[in-house]
Structures are given as structure tokens and as C-alpha cells.
């Protein structure tokens, strides 16, 4: 899933103000950002009432309406709300960076204000915690590293083992952060496959990742 966090209210208010306020539409998403408690129906309602409170206290005269889409990242769903978008002056997206972009593309006449800071692809890890797991490098090799990706999870993206800063299972960056290579070592060892760690990985082909330019994926049958 995509992990994101809602921006501070003051930042959202400031962006709404610089767009002139008026009739505000907050657009949420029921997918990933709902799971990470940042942009689902509940958060959309909360943001709307915060904006209304601000407007009332400052006598700005804003009106706020809300809508939450099944998947903001798919144009079909975005197109369904043409009516309410037309009735608004300012659109605030509580979708992820993908959702906000697609919404923006579907409604080119509107400036879409990003209400979420999107950070990573990862997984829920207990109450109120999410962890980055994939960096989208386009060339997965986790079978060689105990099912743990060093590109996404080592602070230095090291592919051939830990740096000198790994101590007591923790990354040098902070005691709260596990060293990915300690996790990899523990996993591979428990599988009895330390031999995998002896494999020398040559310079990676980053062209399959973001470095090769923005990626467009086309299913084989659709290629010409």
C-alpha cells in the first residue's frame, strides 16, 4: 500500500487561503490513505470541520463540502464527481500523490491542493505504524536477501552487506530503526542459507527504476 500523512492543518489552510477560499471541496480516498488513517472518510470529515471552524473564527465565509472516492488514482472514479467539483472554487485532495495528480488531470481548470504528504510503499505494522518496504526499483532481488529489500530498508541502499554503522541490530541513524542488514542476516541464517550472502552483487541496473525516466508499464498483450 501507499503510505501518506496528512499535512499540518495550518499548511492546508494557508494553501486554501492563497487560492482565495470560497467553496471548498475536500476529496478523500477509500484505498491506501484510508488504511493509513490519513485521507479516508473519517479524516475528510475531520478536515472539513476544521476548515469550517477556521472560517467561522476568522469570518471568511467559506463553505466546505466533502466526497470520498473508491480509488482517487483511477480516472473513472474521479469523473463521477464532476457535479460537485463544478460547484466548488477550491479542491483539496486527501488522496495520495497519485490520487491528487489524477484528480488534477481530470479537472484541469482546478488547482488541486495536496492535503497529504505521500512517503512510501509499505505495510501496516500494528496500531498507527507503517513501514516502508519497497522502493520500486524495477528489478527485485529479495530472494537473495531473506525477503527483505536493502534498497528500501537500508539507509544507504547497500546491496552487499551492512555499513560500519550497524550496531546491536540498529541502524546508525537512530536507535528506533532496525538495521536492514541485521534483519537480512537473521532471516538468511534461520533459513540455513548464509551462502546467499556471499554472492557479490555487481553494480545495479538503475535504468529499470526511476533513474531510467518516469515509467510507463504496458502489459505484454497491449504492446505493439
Amino acid at each position: 500500500m501507499i503510505i501518506g500523512e496528512q499535512k499540518p492543518l495550518a499548511d492546508i489552510i494557508s494553501m486554501v487561503e492563497s487560492e482565495g477560499g470560497g467553496r471548498i471541496l475536500v476529496v478523500g480516498c477509500r484505498s491506501c490513505v484510508a488504511v493509513c488513517l490519513a485521507g479516508g472518510e473519517k479524516e475528510v470529515t475531520e478536515l472539513a470541520s476544521s476548515l469550517e471552524d477556521h472560517s467561522a473564527s476568522q469570518e471568511l465565509g467559506w463553505t466546505v463540502s466533502t466526497v470520498t472516492l473508491q480509488r482517487q488514482c483511477e480516472k473513472d472514479f474521479d469523473q463521477e464527481i464532476a457535479g460537485v467539483v463544478k460547484e466548488s472554487d477550491v479542491v483539496v485532495s486527501l488522496g495520495c500523490g497519485v490520487g491528487a495528480q489524477v484528480l488534477s488531470e481530470v479537472y484541469p481548470e482546478r488547482v488541486v491542493i495536496p492535503g497529504i504528504d505521500t512517503s512510501a510503499m509499505g505495510s501496516p505494522e500494528g496500531k498507527g505504524r507503517w513501514k516502508e518496504r519497497c522502493a520500486g526499483c524495477g528489478d527485485c532481488t529479495i530472494h537473495l536477501s531473506g525477503g527483505i529489500c536493502p534498497i528500501a530498508r537500508c539507509s544507504k541502499m547497500l546491496q552487499n552487506g551492512p555499513c560500519g554503522g550497524s550496531q546491536g541490530g540498529k541502524c546508525e541513524l537512530s536507535p528506533e530503526r532496525d538495521c536492514a542488514w541485521q534483519l537480512i542476516y537473521d532471516q538468511v541464517r534461520s533459513k540455513g542459507r548464509l551462502d546467499l550472502l556471499e554472492i557479490m552483487l555487481p553494480p545495479k541496473d538503475w535504468s529499470k527504476g526511476r533513474d531510467g525516466g518516469s515509467r510507463i508499464v504496458v502489459k505484454k498483450e497491449e504492446r505493439r
Binding site: S155, K156, M157, L158, Q159, N160, G161, P162, C163, G164, G165, S166, Q167, G168, G169, E172, L173, C179, W181, Q182, Y185, L194, L197, E198, M200, L201, P202, P203, K204, W206
Partner: protein, 307 residues
């Protein structure tokens, strides 16, 4: 201009080598590099020139290496994976070799979080093992990593770092074996204070016979004060400073003298270990200690390299 690496010649002749360190200034002035080189000239066989150490911007290691050459001391140019992609690494290798640099240390680099510009992006196109693979190909096959041939290939004695105090120990030794497999001619270790842990690492390295495939140079750092020791113990990633040693520094009436004693004791211990081919002195802001350490350790005069 010299033709090859003196460090290499000395190691291959079986001499116990001494290397030390010169940190470039935060300034567009070669003076401080020249000054450090003059203070330590003749007391070590080659000098590591650090590369934006602890992620703090300083004069480039290539430029500072050139000042060292001009002062008649041999540089070991450090190059981090943090700040350069493979294109920059290869072009800098060509430039360094053309300017007379003969030793290159391939290192990961401290995370930018520890520096004074933590907002910067890191590169890590290559890790240090891959960096060695690329440089090995340039030097040995006369080819860029992509296979293009190099008209006049670089000649460089290639080194890498090892931290005996990083966890897990077994994984660290596996990584070291990869660096050796990738072509590290020499290895310099992190500063050694914890001799028990170092011996454990050393046994593991010897059991894999890595000492027969590379030259291992043991790192030693003279402690100038209790505060410096405390800083090493608490703030520097990947360090291990035993409590006993901290107590000695805390109780010393003359901290500098005690730091010097500890440093000399450590060198004595390390010299007797099989497979240890030299010491690397890291006189962080205490360059004037180097001549005294080398002299009192009985490592003078430094031998002349025969090539």
C-alpha cells in the same frame, strides 16, 4: 613524479607500514593541508585524505591529495559512495591517476544525517564493493565499467575499509570477503579501542584466510582527552570504547599522556598479531601527536620504498 604507490611497494616488501590521515580544510586554501603534510612528513608512509568526512563539506579529496603530492607526501585519496554516481567516480579516478594519485580508498561514507547539511540527497549508485569492481576493471582491464576501452588506464592501489566493531560480526566478515573478492589490495580498519572484540574479528578473518589475499592495516586513534573518548563512545557510529579505557582517561592526571600511553599499548598489541601489516593513525585534530607516536612505538625511521 613517482611511478607507483610507495605504500604498495612497502607492503609487498613485507615492511610494517604506517599510514595516517590528513583532513582537508573548510576553506579554499591549500595551506592547512600543506601544513599538516609538513608536520607529519617522514612519520608515515602514506596519508588518507578524507572525503567530506562525517558529511561535512570540505575541500575535495582530489584537490587536497594534489597538495600532498606537492609537499612530497603520498596521499591515499578517499572516495565515498555517498556523494558520487558511477560516472563521477570513474572520471575522478582518471583525473586522480593523471595527477599522480596512486592509492584510492573506496568507502561507503557517513550518512548525511551526521553532517551539517542533512537535507541533502545521497547517491549510493554503487556500494563500496561495487565501487571496487568498477575500479578494478578500469585498472586491470583498461576498460570503463560499460566496456569502453581506456587509452591510458589508471594505475591505482585500491583499498577499502572494515569495521571490526559493527554487527553482526559474521556478516561484517562476509562483507569484507566480498571487498577482497572485488579486488581490495589493502584494508584499513576502524579505530581499535576494544581489543577483545578486535581479536574475535581477527580470528574470523584469519580463519577465512583473508589476510593472505589483502594487506590489513589496523586503525588506531590517539585520545587527546576524556571528552574525546566520551565523544567516540557516545557519538561516533560503529565505535566500541570499553568502560575500562574510559575510566583510565577519566582518572588520568595528564589526559594527553594517558591517551598517548593507550595508543602505544594498542599498537604494541596489534603489531604482534599475525596478518596485521601496519597501523593507520587517525590523529583527529592532533596531527602533532603523530611524530611522537611513531617514534615512541619504535617505528622510525620509515623505510624507503624500492620500486
Amino acid at each position: 613524479m613517482n611511478d607507483g604507490s610507495s605504500l604498495q611497494a612497502l607492503l609487498e616488501a613485507g615492511e610494517f607500514v604506517v599510514t595516517s590521515e590528513i583532513g582537508p580544510p573548510k576553506s579554499a586554501d591549500g595551506g592547512p593541508v600543506r601544513e599538516k603534510a609538513r608536520v607529519m612528513k617522514g612519520y608515515a608512509d602514506a596519508f588518507n585524505v578524507t572525503d567530506n568526512q562525517t558529511a561535512i563539506v570540505r575541500m575535495s579529496s582530489l584537490a587536497a591529495s594534489l597538495f600532498c603530492i606537492q609537499e612530497g607526501v603520498e596521499p591515499i585519496m578517499q572516495m565515498t559512495c555517498r556523494d558520487r554516481n558511477r560516472l563521477a567516480m570513474q572520471s575522478e579516478m582518471l583525473g586522480a591517476a593523471a595527477l599522480g594519485v596512486r592509492n584510492m580508498l573506496c568507502i561507503t561514507g557517513d550518512h548525511q544525517k551526521f553532517g551539517n547539511q542533512p537535507q541533502s540527497r545521497n547517491v549510493f549508485d554503487l556500494d563500496s564493493t561495487q565501487q571496487l569492481m568498477v575500479f578494478r576493471r578500469m585498472c586491470d582491464k583498461g576498460e570503463m565499467w560499460c566496456g569502453d576501452s581506456i587509452k591510458i588506464p589508471p594505475h591505482m592501489f585500491l583499498g577499502a575499509a572494515a569495521n571490526p566493531f559493527a554487527d553482526p560480526l559474521e556478516m561484517g566478515v562476509i562483507r569484507l570477503s566480498k571487498k577482497v573478492g572485488a579486488g581490495a589490495d589493502f584494508i584499513q580498519t576502524q579505530a581499535i579501542f576494544d581489543l577483545d572484540r578486535f581479536r574475535e574479528w581477527h580470528r574470523s578473518v584469519l580463519s577465512k584466510k583473508l589476510d593472505e589475499r589483502t594487506h590489513i592495516i589496523a586503525g588506531v586513534l590517539p585520545l587527546r582527552s576524556y571528552r574525546a573518548a566520551r565523544f567516540m563512545a557516545d557519538k561516533v557510529p560503529g565505535m566500541s570504547v570499553p568502560d575500562e579505557l574510559l575510566r583510565r582517561m577519566a582518572n588520568a592526571s595528564d589526559e594527553k599522556a594517558e591517551g598517548m600511553r593507550i595508543c602505544l599499548e594498542t599498537i604494541d598489541e596489534l603489531r604482534d598479531l599475525p596478518g596485521i601489516k601496519g597501523v593507520h593513525l587517525m590523529p583527529v585534530n592532533w596531527e602533532s601527536a603523530v611524530p611522537e607516536i611513531v617514534e615512541r612505538a619504535g617505528l622510525l625511521p620509515r623505510p624507503q620504498a624500492r620500486r
